[in-house]
Each structure stands twice: as C-alpha cells, then as structure tokens.
Amino acid sequence: MDALDRVVKPKTKRAKRFLEKREPKLKENTKNAMLIKGGNANLTVTEVLKDIYAVKKPFAVLYKKKNITRPFEDQTSLEFFSKKSDCSLFLFGSHNKKRPNNLIIGRMFDYHVLDMIELGIEKFVSLKDVKNSKCPEGTKPMLIFAGDMFDVNEEYRRLKSLLIDFFRGPSVPSIRLAGLEYVLHFTAVDGKIYMRSYKVLLKKSGCKIPRIELEEMGPSLDLVMRRTHLASDDLYKLSLKQPKALKPKKKKNISHDVFGTTYGRIHMQKQDLGKLQTRKMKGLKKRPAEKSAEDGGVSPKKSKSAS
C-alpha cells in the first residue's frame, strides 16, 4: 500500500500518460469492471462471469485464477485489486452450501468499497445455449427496468443504480439509430429479479418509427437478493457530488417567449444624441448667416424682441 501511495515520478512519456489516465479528472473515464472468482466457484458461476465479460468488453477485466477472499468480511483485497487495475466496478462469484451460486456486484469510490449487493442465481441461460445470431461486441445496450419495486424499496433502488452503472457503457454524444441492437430488460416481481437480453429487430412500419421485434439472445439470469452492504447516506452524497465546472453555463441576456421567438438583450452605453449621425438633407443645412449668429451666442430673433 505504501508503494502505491508514494509519489511516483514518471520517467517516460508513456508512464506519465499512464498516471494521468488514472488520476481524478473533471470528466471521468468509462468505469471498468473486474470479474473475480472466489475460492470455490462452480461451473455456473464461472459461465456467468464469462458471459458478463463478453457483454462488457472492452471495459472489463476477467481474472482467471481463484481468489480466496470474503468480500463481506474483508474488503482490503478487493480494494487492492481495484487500485492495481484501476477498476471501480466488480463482480465476485462464489459457491458454497449456505449460499449457492452467489454473485456479489459492487462499486468503488476512491478505491474504497461504496456499495455491495449479494445476489443468488436461480436459473442461468448462457450465450452459447441460445442458438441465435448475436450482436457485435461493445454495443451500447438499452436498459429497461420494469416493476414498481425498483422505486419503492431502498435496496432495489440502489441495485437499479448499480446495474445502470455496470451495464451503461461509454457515454456518447450521439448514436446511430440503426445500431440500437441490444436491450437488457430487468423485471422485479415477487422478490425475484429477471434479467433478459434481447436482440432488437427493426421492422418496417407505415410511419417513420420502426416496429420492434425482439429475439432472445445472450445471458438470461433469475436473481434473488441476499445480503447488502450499502454506503451511508453522507458517503453516497459525497460520491454523487459533481464539480461545479461541469455544470452547463447559463447563457445570459437571452430569453424565449411562448411563441418560440428568441429575444436578446444588448446593453449600450449612454449616447450623446447631439452628435448622432443622421441622413444628410441638403435643405436643412445651416445657412452661413444662421451659423455665425449661433456662434455669437445671441440669436437674431431674441435681439429683436429685446429692443
């Protein structure tokens, strides 16, 4: 831990780039996930980890060896892995008699565990078992959450936030409409969570919007929530804090009215209306007699009335 904390002075440009990628930034990188096997992981759990890795490529790391740790008791080894591989999401799979086919999904904040939720796998259909065409690797999936449990229950709400974080993929400014091929659908019913992945087929409909047909593809899981380790409220709020620089700047002096007209406001300095350049009209030009009278300071009219 000391070696990682000491100030490492980079000696090459490549090392400098490596360190710059890992330091805290205003706009963050896409979160990486690490998929770890526990001390006694069975075939089901291993297959699940491999499938999730296939879905999350290239933003995931799959560790091949088994690691004998218990995340709920001791988080130091997870934090060490997170620091080494710069991953802030993790999925830990294990199996024992008390908790069969166990999956712990979690995320980190500042290389410390923020939230951890333990899920049990009841049924699993893998990518290989479904003999349909698959979508290309790295497709940004559409995420749909169905069920009122995801709003009512606090733990389910955190689970929803975790799953969005996990499967979101890179944040993009625009997306190719024909490339919306993958959808992940989560349903919370009766204390169980059904995760299904479908391939989206866009069929012709009469109007511009296509008709959707779904084809079963990819991993499908039936999950049951077991233990949870959620972050305290203030730590969670601290992690949600965004730096002020990211807030979109308000454009001042622009307003819109109901009809859609845009109004702008210009602030002018005080003008000297005497020196305003108007159109030259020859008829209104001052005659030399009037001009000299004005210069004198006494106009001819006034002198007449005085006398």
Binding site: A146, I175, L214
Partner: protein, 361 residues
C-alpha cells in the same frame, strides 16, 4: 357531392394513418420515465405477477412481450430526437443524445486544485503577470529568425563557446570553462530541487484532507479511531479543556509535538533550586578543570560501540543457533540494552551543555 367525397377521402386517409401508427403505439397505465442520454427507460407499472409465477415458456413469453412494449416506447422516443446524416449525405442516420440525467456516483472524488508554487505566490503578491514571448528571435549574427532555445538557437550553440572571459576580481588561475560548467550543474540541481519541493507540497496538500477518515466506515484501525477521538475532543469551543474523559482515556492531554521538544520550567518557581543551580553554574565556570572529560567520553563511546557490535553478532548467532541461546541473546540485546544505550547517549549530551550534575570519575 365533391365536398362529401373530399371528407370521405380525408377520413380514409386518417384511418390509414391510425392503422399504421397502431403497430408502433403501446398502451400503458403509467407513463414510462426516460433518460435518453443513458438509453434508459423506467417502467413503474406493476408487472402481471400471476402470469410470471408459473415457470417455463409461458413466463418467458410474458417477459418478452413486456420487453417488446417497453423497447417500442423507448425506440419511439429515440427516433423523435433531432437526427442528422453523419459524414455527408450517404452516411448513417445519427441521433444527437441529450446529457445523461440519471445521477450516478463518481469513480473518484473531483480533482483538487493544486496549491500555487512559491514563484506563483510571489508573482501574485507582486502583481507580475505572464508575458507571452515570441517563439522566434532575430539572430544578428546569422541574419535570420532563429528559435529562442533548442536546436539551432539564436545565440549559437553554447557547447561550442570557444571564449570565456575572466570577470573582474576573479582568480586568474581559475578555469573559467570549468566554472561555467559547475554553475550550470548547480542551477540545474537547484531547479530540480525546487520542482520536487513544489511537487511534494502539492502532494502533501492533496493527502492532508481528514474528511475521509472522519467518516465512519465500519472498518477503521485503532490508530485511526484514536485520532478521530482526539480531533473530536479538541473541536469544542474551549479546545477540549473541560471535556469529560472516557473511563480508559489517559488523564493528561497529549502534547502536540508528541513530547519531543523541550519543556521549560516556569520562571518564578522554586527559588532555592534556582539559587543552587546558578551557584553550580558559577562554580563550573570558575573551575580550571574542563567540563567535558575527554578520556571519559571516549571510553564511553568505545564501550557503546562494543556493545552494539556484540548485539549485532548475538542477533546473527541467534538466528542460526539453538533456542536457549536465542532467548538468552535476545534478552540481552533487545529491550534492556537498548534502554541502557539510550541513557548513555543522553548523558554525554546532558553533560556537554553544562547544567548537569557531575559525578566523580
């Protein structure tokens, strides 16, 4: 008659439109919530629990129908976004997504602004602002624009300088070239030192925030907890002086420096002790004998070195030797002799300052 026909035609057209739209509309009790930046849709409608309870293909079919409806709604929304053709007229149709609205926690805390370096502080104080320099300088010798520094710089290559003037008041025998080289090395070393100092200051400022440890996380070490308790005690208005103590907490307040610095005695205290101390001092100053007995000090140093060598040897032997021997050796070398060594070290320091009591040799 024509009017009626027109109405019929319009009604028929509307019918057709509605027919087409029917294939893409979905009826839902509650509207879904959309976050198009994340391609996310949240359906609050309770799913039909009865149908989903039975296992098997019926459940799959129901789930698939639900997913189809929800996906249709999401895709309709996405298709309504402003779209353009990327990469010219023949490129793919691309929709511009809004910013993601769903708040997700960050990976790392937002970056802290680094503290200003010593030069930056000075410049801010004096009001010195950065002047933009041109990258090229006119070289009179070569009659062209050359770089300010680097390859083919304006002043000529400094390594090929064949003349080094001897400045006034310098030693005529001194090697000027060597002096220039030495001064450059010193300048480089000083700059490097200052840069590292600035880096260390920034790093210290970055890691000195106690906010994280003060949050209860449930797995904190003993030292962290005692530090937190100490900070909490001192955070009262009277800096913790009238704070009741916990049953096992120590009575006296721990010194901030950890008891390392000197503690001076009060000025107006014990008059008798002061008088005797001053008289001793005068006696020592007046006497002809030296305060520090050289031979005694040297003997002490030699004895210390011997003891250390014996301890080191003993440790080495104990690592390979038998158990009994090891216990005997470690008993001698570790704690007791260490304390004795420390006392010996303190005593010559005490006697050299002159205020200690002298024992007869």
């Amino acid at each position: 008659m024509a009017a009626v026909r027109v109405e019929e035609v319009l009604a028929a057209a509307e019918e057709q439109e509605a027919e087409k739209r029917r294939s893409v509309t979905v009826e839902k009790e509650l509207e879904l919530e959309f976050d198009l930046g994340n391609l996310l849709a949240l359906d609050r409608n309770p799913p039909p629990a009865a149908g989903l309870r039975g296992a098997g293909p019926r459940r799959e079919a129901l789930l698939r129908a639900l997913a189809r409806d929800n996906t249709q709604l999401l895709v309709s929304r996405l298709w309504e976004l402003p779209a353009e053709r990327a990469g010219g007229a023949g490129g793919p149709l691309v929709a511009r997504l809004p910013e993601p609205a769903f708040r997700l926690p960050r990976e790392k805390p937002p970056p802290r602004p680094r503290p200003p370096t010593r030069w930056e502080q000075f410049a801010r104080l004096k009001g010195i602002r950065r002047r933009k320099r041109t990258s090229l300088v006119w070289d009179e010798q070569a009659k062209e624009w050359r770089r300010r520094w680097g390859y083919r710089r304006a002043g000529g290559d400094p390594a090929r300088a064949w003349l080094a003037e001897v400045p006034e008041g310098a030693d005529p025998e001194e090697d000027q070239f060597a002096r220039l080289r030495r001064e450059k090395r010193e300048r480089v070393a000083r700059n490097e030192l200052n840069r590292l100092r600035n880096l260390a200051r920034a790093h210290r400022a970055g890691t000195a925030v106690p906010a994280a440890p003060l949050h209860p996380t449930g797995h904190q070490s003993r030292e962290e907890l005692s530090h937190v308790a100490r900070v909490a005690r001192v955070s009262t208005a009277s800096l913790g002086r009238f704070q009741p103590r916990l049953p096992k907490e120590s009575a006296e307040p721990p010194s901030r420096s950890g008891g390392k610095k000197q503690r001076f005695e009060p000025l107006l205290g014990n008059l008798a002790a002061e008088r005797s101390r001053q008289l001793e001092l005068l006696r020592d100053m007046g006497s002809k004998k030296p305060v520090l007995d050289i031979t005694r000090a040297v003997n002490k140093q030699l004895r210390q070195e011997e003891a250390e060598a014996a301890a080191a040897k003993g440790k080495k032997q104990s690592q390979r030797g038998k158990r009994g021997r090891r216990q005997q050796r470690t008993g001698r070398s570790s704690k007791k002799s260490g304390a004795r060594r420390q006392q010996q070290q303190q005593r010559p320091a005490g006697s050299s300052t002159g205020s200690g009591r002298r024992k007869k040799a």
